[in-house]
Every structure is written in C-alpha cells, then in structure tokens.
Symmetry: C2
Subunit: 188 residues, 2 copies
C-alpha cells in the first residue's frame, strides 16, 4: 500500500495514537487503512463412502488435489461461500452442511472455515478452476499430491472422526517452521 | 474506495474478466482491489459459576455490555486474537481456550469466532475500551443491555449447553430483517 484509497495522497506507515501497531495512515485525510486476515471457506463433499477432490487448474499448486474452497465474499455467509465454491470449482450441489473445522494460518493472514456436507446425487464435474474432479475412498486419497497443509489436516481429522463414528468441530493452527515445513497444532 | 492504493490512479468499479462480481480495478496498473469480510474474535471468560462482561467505553453501543472481542489482526491466530482482546479490554489472562461458536453476519461483512476459557484467578479490571468489567451469574446477565445480537446468541447457546452439561461448537448466521430486527439461524 502506497496511496490512500480515499483521497489518493501518499500514506505513511505509523502507529496511530491509542494504537499499538503500525498502520497505513493518510496524512491528508486522516483515514487509517487497517489490513486484516481473509477467510477462506470450503467443504468436504460426501457421497456414500467417498469424498470429492478437485485437481487445481490454477496457481498456486497447479495440478495438485484439493477440497473445493476459496475466499469468502462480502455480503455472504461462510456457509454460503463454501457452497458457492463447491458449485464454481466442481459443479457440486451441496446439501446439509455443518461446520467441521476452523484453522488459523497466521503467516499468510488467513482463516479457514471447512464444512462437511452431502454432495447431491454424487454428481460433480470440473469447473473453470479445476482440471479434474474425483470421488475417492480413503484408500484413494492422493496424500502426497494434496495442495495445502490445511487440506491434509482437514482430511486427517475427517478420517479419524469417521473411524470413531462421530464428528466434532475442530480448531487448529498451522505455522511454518524455520525448516520450511508445516506444523499443525490441534486444539480441539 | 476511489484511488488505487498501489499507484494512486482512480479506480473503476467493474466486473473483471473471468469474475462474476464488481471489483475496484485500477485501469493504470491493473491491480484488482478485492474487499472481503473481517474476522472479529473474542471469548467467554469463565470463573467459578460466573462469566466476565465488559461495559463498552467506545462506540458503537457505548455503555452497553459485551464479551471481550475485536478485529483479528494480521500475523496472529484467531485464538491469540481472542486472548489479546480479553487482555486489552479487561486485563483478563485467559487460559485453556476452546473454540465455542462461529457466526457469519453478512450484512456487515463480518465473521465472529468466539472461544470459551478460564479467566486466570478470576481477576479482571477495565482496559482502555471498557468503562467497567463484571463477573456475573446467569441471573445477573443484563440481557436487555447487551451490545450486539451476536453476544446475545453466544450467551443463549452458552447457558443452554451449561444446563445440558456439555459444550458443542456451534455455527450460526445473523441477518437483519426488513423490520430492522435481527434473526439468528442456528445450524449446529
């Protein structure tokens, strides 16, 4: 950020009075431009003993597999956003969704909300951002070709709960370690 | 938004190629300025048979009662943000927090994550944004003086679960009705 989106003047990075963090502040009009994490919302589409995965047609992680998910938009709920992303990425009509897990990923300023729900009639096909979509059993999940640590963490919880026969809502945090690996801390 | 924060030129509100929503786009440098919901994160501080409420010293809802909560910051997790807000607003040291409920509030482009946890030694005092803080029993909750519908919804769930003797993680949506009342839809 270099310019004020309200008046066009150059912004300064300062700690405003009564605050304790640096913010972009406009010296001309006084607006403080707060920058906050974004929410990514998605789901696990279920059909019989399978779940739906999408092969990414876009960067990052082009060609790797993921659950349908994307940035939550203004004026929608995180549940509506998860259903919209499933439709956009996999022409998947989601029903009876429940919140399944929430992740904070502080190094990329993101929060994930992942729902679990029924893929209507088991029908799906690739949307514009997918090269392929596939219904897979646990044995068919391509663990070494999943796109993001948050997808691995979500599916690990999912299959643990499936074995237990009961699904709780989970909260976890994903951090990058100095060795560029990822560490997943499970809180509930 | 009137000006591009990257180059200072005037932005246009258009639907970019391959998108289906209007975005602020800079005709000079091409940057698309996405606008997304913000996360508010907070908690229910518990001590013996009481919870901690804060009387707001700031607008909106100056003088009404709330749970400690505020905007999640970049580089922090929603759990860390909830603990930070409790410290800032009530000098409250939170321990053993668990995710308790998640709300979407689409008409104000917000998502709430509310945790439940132990208020260390039951100690609290007003921070800069609070006029007062108070440990209250269920009978002492000032239901008609709570600051926001999301606080009412959170506490309704809390006392229901407390009576049941078990706490689940909940997801709900809060919408404004045409009569300017609020409607809370509970999904889980």
């Amino acid at each position: 950020m270099k310019y004020c989106s309200a008046c066009g003047d150059e912004v300064h990075l300062i700690i405003p009075d009564g605050d304790n963090r640096e913010r972009y502040v406009c010296p001309a009009c006084g607006v403080v431009h707060y920058q906050n994490p974004k929410v990514v919302t998605g789901c696990i589409p279920e059909w019989e003993d399978k779940i739906l995965l999408c092969k990414r047609a876009i960067e990052p992680r082009h060609g790797l597999w993921t659950l349908p998910a994307g940035f939550m938009e203004n004026q929608e709920t995180s549940l509506e956003g998860a259903a919209r992303e499933a439709m956009e990425e996999a022409n998947a009509d989601m029903r009876d969704m429940e919140l399944y897990c929430v992740f904070s990923i502080p190094h990329i300023n993101q929060m994930y909300t992942m729902y679990r729900g029924s893929l209507h009639q088991g029908k799906a096909s690739p949307g514009r951002e997918s090269l392929d979509v596939r219904l897979v059993t646990e044995q068919e999940v391509p663990w070494d070709k999943l796109a993001f640590p948050v997808i691995i963490a979500t599916l690990q919880w999912y299959y643990q709960d499936l074995k237990k026969g009961s699904f709780n809502t989970h909260y976890g945090e994903i951090r990058k370690t100095p060795e560029m690996k990822f560490e997943i801390e499970r809180f509930s």
